[in-house]
Amino acid sequence: MKTKVLNTPIRDEDILDLTIGDMIYLNGYMVTGRDDVHQRVVLGGKKLPVDLRGGALFHAGPIMRERDKEPGRYDVISIGPTTSMRMESTEDAFMAATGVKLIVGKGGMGDRTNEGCKANKVIHAVFPGGCAVLAAGQVEEVLGVDWLDLGMPEALWQLRVAQFGPLIVTIDTKGNNLFERNKKIFNEKKESAIAEINTHLHYHE
């Protein structure tokens, strides 16, 4: 398990040597995007209003507070990762359309994203789920917001982050997928756990 700091714009060579289980921290440019942003870009065919080449995407729906005396300026209150798997059906197309290099979320993603990561040279990493105040402290500035009509959680928030992490690499550019590997192990252990419990279920006379 190695530790590495990534700075945006991220180049292919910055991430090619990363392997699942490695720990990274991010400095630089990151936007939030979840279900509705993927819906608009991939299914709706709309162009992302920001340049995400070499940047990072955070599967997250934050709590933001608009400044009293500066309308349109926001501070982040709480921002943790959301379930990445919800974006599985569209993430490969999103990568191809935007040039994003790092995707941060929670939990695993599937084979389609795995293939997308390999083809587009992208990595997926997880931020510890639920740790939203910790993450908020690593956001230096909310640079702006687009698509606020989608509501606070679904809007496209643009952030500058510093030492954002810990992030654990869960899909690398070589086709490895930490959660898919874990799932196999969990499913094998599941069968023996179920078999053991079933020997104790004699409730009928």
Binding site: T83, K106, C131, V133
Partner: protein, 299 residues
């Protein structure tokens, strides 16, 4: 205190308690998380536990919701028939949610079905969701505040099995859901199982099982034993914090049951994430309150 003053005080207390519950975990969950952390010996799992406890420390220090997903507000109400605000209770809880949404602040989490628009207030059609239990000959109310996050609501499911599928069918159903969907739901998870005669009863009981404090057991000895065996079995899988793998998987497993139909065996499953934001408050007829889930809490 006149009736209007009581109503206003009630809204104030419930808004502040809802706000508080978004920022602090209940005592039983904290205790269990500390135990699980102390048993963990893998580096990666400990990176997760360290982040979780640092997050809780910051949430307390900065008075911010510990998770950005402050969920949909659900209230499980046990109201005495003589509680003075019983008639307007649902309207007062709605007002409390609107106020806590501004003060905490809570994330806007209510999307109206068909309109597909976020209401921006955390209230909407039938939301906050209120579950009612009427308590005869009582003039007080006990209210569970529960924040049902999206991630930990996703593994939820109910199914009506045929009786010959047996309790083995229930065990299989629970393990399949947890290993396929639970890993993304911010483990270690709190697993609630309902067993009944129809889907909606089993589903509702599965959520009520998550209101019981960790360490309490099913009143039926066989039920208590099955809780323990399912918990041990899930822990043996070693899902770990965040699904990253580790020594254990669950905060606990609770089962609640209702009588079933001879021809049906329904099972419901609800899961709570590690940040299980559940608060219990008792309010008397003079609108004095006592917080039962967070010792020493000041709101």
């Amino acid at each position: 205190m006149n009736h209007a003053e009581k109503a206003s005080k009630f809204i104030d207390i419930m808004a502040r308690f809802t706000d508080y519950s978004s920022k602090h975990l209940p005592d039983d969950i904290l205790l269990r998380l500390r135990e699980m952390r102390s048993e963990e010996d893998s580096d990666m799992a400990n990176i997760f536990y360290d982040a979780m406890f640092e997050d809780l420390r910051l949430a307390h220090e900065l008075s911010r919701p510990c998770c950005q997903d402050t969920g949909m507000l659900q209230f499980f109400v046990q109201v005495g028939t003589r509680f003075p605000l019983i008639d307007e209770l649902s309207e007062l809880l709605r007002e409390s949610v609107i106020r806590a949404t501004r003060t905490a602040p809570l994330r806007h989490n209510v999307v109206e079905v068909f309109d597909e628009k976020n209401t921006g207030t955390n209230v909407g059609t039938h939301i906050p969701w209120i579950d009612w239990e009427i308590i005869p000959d009582s003039d007080e109310v006990k209210i569970y505040v529960y924040m049902a996050g999206g991630g930990c609501s996703l593994p939820g499911a109910a199914q009506v099995l045929m009786p010959l599928e047996g309790y083995e069918g229930i065990v299989r159903f629970v393990f399949d859901r947890i290993t396929s969907y639970g890993i993304n739901a911010c483990p270690p998870l709190f697993v609630g199982i309902g067993i009944a005669g129809s889907a909606e009863v089993a589903a509702k009981l599965s959520k009520k099982a998550l209101l019981r404090p960790i360490g309490s057991v099913n009143p039926n000895a066989k039920g208590a034993e099955l809780e323990m065996r399912i918990a041990n079995g899930l822990n043996a899988i070693g899902i770990g914090p965040g699904g990253i793998s580790g020594k254990s998987s669950v905060l606990g497993v609770h089962i609640e049951q209702a009588g079933r139909h001879p021809a049906t065996l329904a099972v419901g499953l609800s899961t709570g994430c590690w940040a299980h934001r559940r608060g219990l408050i008792r309010i008397d007829s003079e609108i004095n309150y006592e917080i039962l889930t967070h010792k020493g809490a000041t709101i």
